[in-house]
């Protein structure tokens, strides 16, 4: 098929004709000579071994010392861990408990140890006091350093990269313990619950505590590793990929936190429709979402920079019904406590009728709602 029997002159002419279609003038930059310079530099430096080019897995293995990569490869995570470790060992003291294991001579050895310590204590205390001072200063420096990095992270993650894991690492997430227990209680005891997007595994832990089995699916490898460190069962995969791999009518109990509040809105519809296919008859999906009714709840919710939207309970219920779920129920959760109400009222500068009455019902409407959909 190749018809390459042209003379060099003909080829050159053909090239010129073809090039005439697009006219370009290069005035100042001589790309071929730059490339020639680069090529000669390559030839000179090749012997020095500067161009080490190895497959990416091998490279990763070299950098992580073989084995699996540690979660703490992220410098912030590493620093949080080290600072906690340093705090544990910062308080050094000479007053360790003294004991003696051999029973016949035990009391004498114990006495001797106590005497030695009595004599040594003034000297040791002076030394330990210096060490304690040094340790405290180091821990304080680490804390300041950590705080600075956290602030920097918070600022830089406001747009989008790994935002959720950074948010969780900064321990700025909501305290959901009560409502997660409540959500876990909606499933039958002993039931195996699948959580899609399990984060650091708070719901999985709540489910286990209440006597249910739980398996999480988490896309972010750092968060999945945190779950593993907590001895929770987790699969590292995108929830939609995980669902796609499941056979029809194979799921019994599914929990989703903040359904449709992050990521692409199309994924919400996709997830509900595929859950409708995958749930077995009598199976149940429970979703815990932010309630858009509460002004203050919404304000609190959006301190999480990863949140994109809230989904109204009627909308979510409608989507589930439309997808073929027979029983769909919504119940509000997460009331503001009297103390929290007072704090908010103070923060808003006080005002008549804010703590109770119709206005308060709107301001302090429940922060969350729980949707239960039966197949």
């Amino acid at each position: 098929m190749d018809q390459d029997d042209k003379t060099p002159l003909e080829e050159e002419k053909a090239g010129e004709e073809a090039a005439a279609n697009l006219s370009i003038e290069v005035d100042d930059i001589d790309v071929p000579s730059i490339m020639a310079e680069i090529q000669s530099r390559v030839e000179r430096r090749r012997q020095d071994g500067v161009y080490k080019d190895i497959p990416i897995l091998q490279l990763e293995e070299e950098r992580t010392g073989g084995g699996e990569a540690e979660v703490s490869l992220d410098p912030l995570h590493e620093l949080i861990f080290l600072s906690q470790l340093a705090r544990q060992y910062a308080e050094v003291t000479s007053y360790y408990p003294i004991g003696a294991r051999r029973s016949p001579l035990g009391p004498f050895i114990l006495l001797a140890k106590k005497v030695i310590r009595r004599f040594m204590t003034p000297y040791m205390d002076a030394l330990f006091a210096k060490q304690r001072e040094f340790n405290n200063q180091m821990v304080k420096s680490l804390d300041i350093f950590l705080e600075l990095i956290k602030r920097e992270r918070e600022r830089s993650y406001h747009g989008g990269v790994d935002r959720y894991s950074a948010w969780v690492e900064m321990e700025l997430g909501e305290d959901l313990r009560g409502v997660l227990d409540e959500a876990a209680g909606r499933f039958d005891p002993g039931e195996e619950i699948l959580e899609l997007g399990c984060g650091t595994g708070d719901f999985l832990a709540a489910a286990l505590k209440s006597g249910r089995e739980a398996l999480g699916v988490e896309e972010d490898s750092r968060l999945a590793r945190i779950c593993q460190e907590r001895d929770l069962r987790v699969v590292h995969a995108r929830p939609i990929d995980y669902l796609e791999a499941q056979p029809s009518e194979s799921l019994r109990a599914v929990f989703v936190l903040d359904m449709g509040e992050r990521g692409d809105s199309r994924e919400l519809l996709w997830m509900i429709n595929s859950l409708a296919d995958l749930m077995e008859r009598g199976g149940r999906v429970v979703s815990l979402n932010h309630h858009p009714r509460s002004v203050l709840g919404v304000e609190e919710a959006f301190t999480d920079p990863t949140l994109i939207r809230l989904v109204h309970p009627d909308t979510l219920a409608g989507l589930f019904s439309h997808a073929g779920f027979r029983e769909v129920e919504v119940s509000p959760l997460g009331e503001f406590s009297p103390g929290e109400r007072r704090d908010w009222v103070e923060r808003m500068g006080g005002g008549h009728g804010l703590e109770s009455g119709e206005l308060a019902e709107l301001l302090f409407a429940p922060r969350r709602y729980l949707l239960e959909a039966g197949r």
């Binding site: 098929m1 090239g15 090749r46 500067v50 161009y51 080490k52 080019d53 190895i54 990269v161």
Partner: protein, 397 residues
Amino acid sequence: MDKGTIAFVPPRYGRKVVGGAETHAGMLAEELHHRGWPVEILTTCAEDPHSWRGEYEPGEEFIGGIKVRRFPQESRKYTRRVFRTEQRIIAGKKVSLAKQRFWIGNVVTSRALCDYLDRRREDYRAFVFIPYLFGTTYQGIETVPERSYIIPCLHDEPYAYQEVFRRMMRSVRGIMFNTPPEMELAKRLYGDDLRGEVVGGVAYEPYSADGDRFRAKYGISGDFVLYSGRREIFKNTFLLLRYFCNYLQNTDREVSLVLIGSGAIEIPFSFRNRVIDLGFVSERDKRDAYDAATIVCQPSERESLSLVLLEAWLTGVPALVHGDCAVTRYHVERCGGGLWFTDYPTFHEALDYLLDRPALREEMGLMGRDYIMENYNWDRIVERFSAVLEEGERGAL
């Protein structure tokens, strides 16, 4: 001028469809439509280029003011025989013409589309098929060769060497090439007397972009190399990732790689602070990313035009392309808008060279921008497009 309807025939088309050829067809069709040409799109119901499932309903709809007629496609039967034939083609082994026909008959086809073309051939002035490597194009041209034109988007790849495509290319009224290297390749493969001209693909108007907005939104600081497009082996995305990670390991340089576009890619854990995968981003973010980037890298060896390069140059960012891709290297050689690499050492040195010279980078970016403004404008493209049609109708090409 004859104002009969021009029908573009891509294998898939829609708002959610991402792909160079489909974008190309859409942009050209919309431009002709705005200039008063009667234009239609004839396509299948498929959206996904891998499963070719019918995501759209058959029938008519309007996209960007253009009538789109959808026809159901045959589901792709990827049997063992098809697979084996394809493997032989990819391996460069000899495959009989009958087997080539059998194979192309399994790369998305639509009997309903062919029937429509056959029935309504007199109602259209021309059918412009795009790109070459699909059953819809092959069977469509076989049905209405006397009114067929093709924008092949041809790459130097094993498929292009098959006899079925030689016959197809030689049976059309005219071929619209995107670049001179693409035309040279076609003439080398299918004969010097091929009826075709360089039309130039599509044009880009200068657009406003804000690199600072992109950096603030995604928290990215310092120099970064941008890769934009689908992440797949044929686009050399994984080669770029490997080269870049090795570059970081060898140099300890503070530079990042930012990836935007669809498709999955696993970033090695220990490089995640320097290789940032933003996934699919909005059109505005994509343009802002070009503006923010220090260098745009196009590592693909199979480009017939490279829309990414054209779009990126408009923001004045220099490019680093693969030297084995005739088209992107041609662009760079002609305009001086960047450098190229052919292996890791040249990638390493070319990247060093560009990162060390901000003034040169700026100048290269401007050269790229001037090149696009001068050569890729709609007046010239429509003029060449029209000339190919007229020549085809006269049968004089």
